[in-house]
């Protein structure tokens, strides 16, 4: 396959292919079957694979996530869909205390090849309880891998990568990306987990980002290039592990850094990246690093307030200029 499709279709296609190839793969979660998926990702899969492999679960986030762990221990390759990250809080005990711990706790005996997909992010005016961006927060937990596909290619590749991984992998799909169109080539060998990708070469500032913010960053980079500031944009792709190597190389080239992420600022993944650059590339820095994150406010409903809370291209531009002034 080599064609232009949506991000949503790319995820669906990856799941479909995996299920066709491997009888051990199945999908379970709320409304993945008859409804077609909360965000319509699994539309049509029930018809193809039947209700034994596309399982509509009751509203029981903790139990069906834990059941994913158990099924993985039992030799299956479950894909658990938690409708959105907001509801994953109900499953956190299973994710942190079991999925992330089992391999170590058992002295290496029991690995958990589980894939958990969830929708993340704000921007749809869903208010405080439905707009969290917690992928950076999840990246704190050892034993997990945290993937954040931004492009159509990655939306596809990451399902495949995650299913091939012997350990628990969480994929965060940003709600605003599903209708994005892009080229999917199913024949290329995917960039492996833990590798960042330089999406735009530049020499003045290293801009590190991931997920939906990538496009705001690229937009800002375009604006800035018109004004003579040349931004290098890195798509992290994976928040755990982080690709220190790619980051530090770029910093060694540009000597200036900014980070854009949709987590609340304090304790965001931006902070961790800043900490690592400070530790590993302090003497490369010509100026303080900057970050554009989500304001530390429960997400408001009103459109203008929500947009003011989220990172935006204009804020990125302003931050870049500030960094260049130093």
């Amino acid at each position: 396959m080599n064609s232009t499709i949506t991000y949503r279709e790319a995820v669906r296609h990856a799941i479909k292919q995996a299920m066709e190839k491997d009888q051990r793969v199945f999908l379970m979660g709320e409304d993945v079957g008859h409804y077609g998926g909360g965000y319509a990702v699994s539309m049509g899969l029930l018809e193809q694979f039947g209700s034994e492999r596309i399982i509509d679960t009751p509203l029981s986030e903790s139990a069906f996530t834990g059941a994913g762990i158990g099924a993985a221990l039992g030799g299956m390759r479950p894909i658990v869909e938690i409708m959105t990250v907001n509801f994953s809080l109900l499953a956190l005990d299973q994710i942190m205390n079991n999925a992330a711990n089992l391999l170590h706790m058992s002295g290496g005996q029991f690995n958990v090849p589980l894939v958990i997909r969830m929708v993340t992010g704000g921007g749809k005016q869903l208010g405080a309880q439905h707009s969290h961006s917690l992928e950076g927060w999840y990246a704190h937990i050892p034993g997990l891998k945290i993937l954040t596909p931004a492009t159509v290619q990655d939306a596809y590749d990451m399902v495949t990568l995650a299913l091939a991984d012997p350990d628990p992998v969480l994929i965060f799909e940003h709600a605003m990306l599903y209708n994005n169109k892009g080229l999917l080539d199913t024949k290329v060998i995917p960039l492996s987990i833990g590798k960042a990708k330089i999406e735009r070469l530049g020499k003045d500032i290293t801009l590190i980002t991931y997920g939906a913010s990538l496009f705001k960053a690229l937009e800002a980079a375009q604006t800035l290039s018109d004004e003579g500031i040349d931004i290098e944009v890195i798509d992290l792709r994976s928040l755990r592990p982080l690709d220190d190597e790619t980051i530090m190389k770029s910093v060694a080239k540009t000597h200036r850094v900014m980070i854009v992420d949709e987590g609340w600022k304090s304790g965001s993944i931006s902070a961790e990246i800043m900490a690592r650059i400070n530790e590993q590339a302090f003497y490369e820095l010509d100026a303080p690093m900057g970050r554009v994150c989500t304001l530390e406010v429960p997400m408001p409903y009103a459109a203008h307030l929500e947009q003011a809370v989220l990172p935006q291209a204009d804020k990125i531009v302003a931050m870049a200029k500030k960094i260049m002034e130093k």
Partner: protein, 316 residues
Amino acid sequence: MDLDLANKLYHKMLLIRRFEEKCVEMYSKEKIRGFLHLYIGEEAVAVGVMHALSSEDAIFATYREHGHALARGIHPNRIMAELYGKQEGCSRGRGGSMHLFDAATRFYGGIAIVTGGLPMAIGMALSDKMMKRNKVTVCFFGEGAVAEGEFHESLNLAALWHLPILFVCENNLYAMGTALEFTQSETNISLKAASYRITSKQIDGMNVTEVAESSEEAIAQIRSGNGPVFLECLTYRFRAHSMYDAELYRQKSEVEEWKQKDPLIRLPQDWSDINIAQHEEEISHIIDEAVEFAENGTLESVDDLEKFIYSSEVAR
């Protein structure tokens, strides 16, 4: 039940119906955004239950709470303004459709996490018990909530502590697109409550008279100190789950069948003297006014964004 009351209940149900129809219109005009979960078809439940409450009682509802908010008496203007994201909204435009709040009527949301409201309702009832206040807390939720662990934790606490709380399960047969039979090994929800030794009853949620009377009984029992009561209201949502729903999971014919039981048809069958045209007329003015109020509302300044995170930042 008398004609006056029948008129009152009819009025409220019709208000909800027309209000939400207007919401759909405004949604398609992009005046309203986000999720919009309609209560159309289920009006008898909220209206019947609210009828039985005093102004001192507390209410916790879900993301499908326009009906509850209207039935409780939050002014339609403030609800519409909220849906428009305006400062004059009942949550200042910060909440939106899923997060209507109102201190004056003791309306505690608008909680959009399924079962998220139950534990808080328990706590509210506990505070009433500890303070020896003769108040009742009512908690609404869908039958989908019954599969969540929090539901069971909460029912157990309510029963164990003999709390003054009324649980109202709106069993509309579907949780989004998942039918009850796919989510519960025991589909009689009222039996679940009974397994906690909670007084429990299954009632016709399309019949506002039955809901009102059962609620009155339940509230009386709760006020007399006999602990929690659970009402399972059999009902149906006539519309899609939200504005994004293709409704692949149910038959059109099933929807049509349930529409025959429309509470707005049902009630006038018993009370032929209800003057429907007059209600329509009155309500049409109310709705127009609500829209106008919302249209004329103000957008809160972005400078105030970081208010309301902590109380010290609240302008009171």
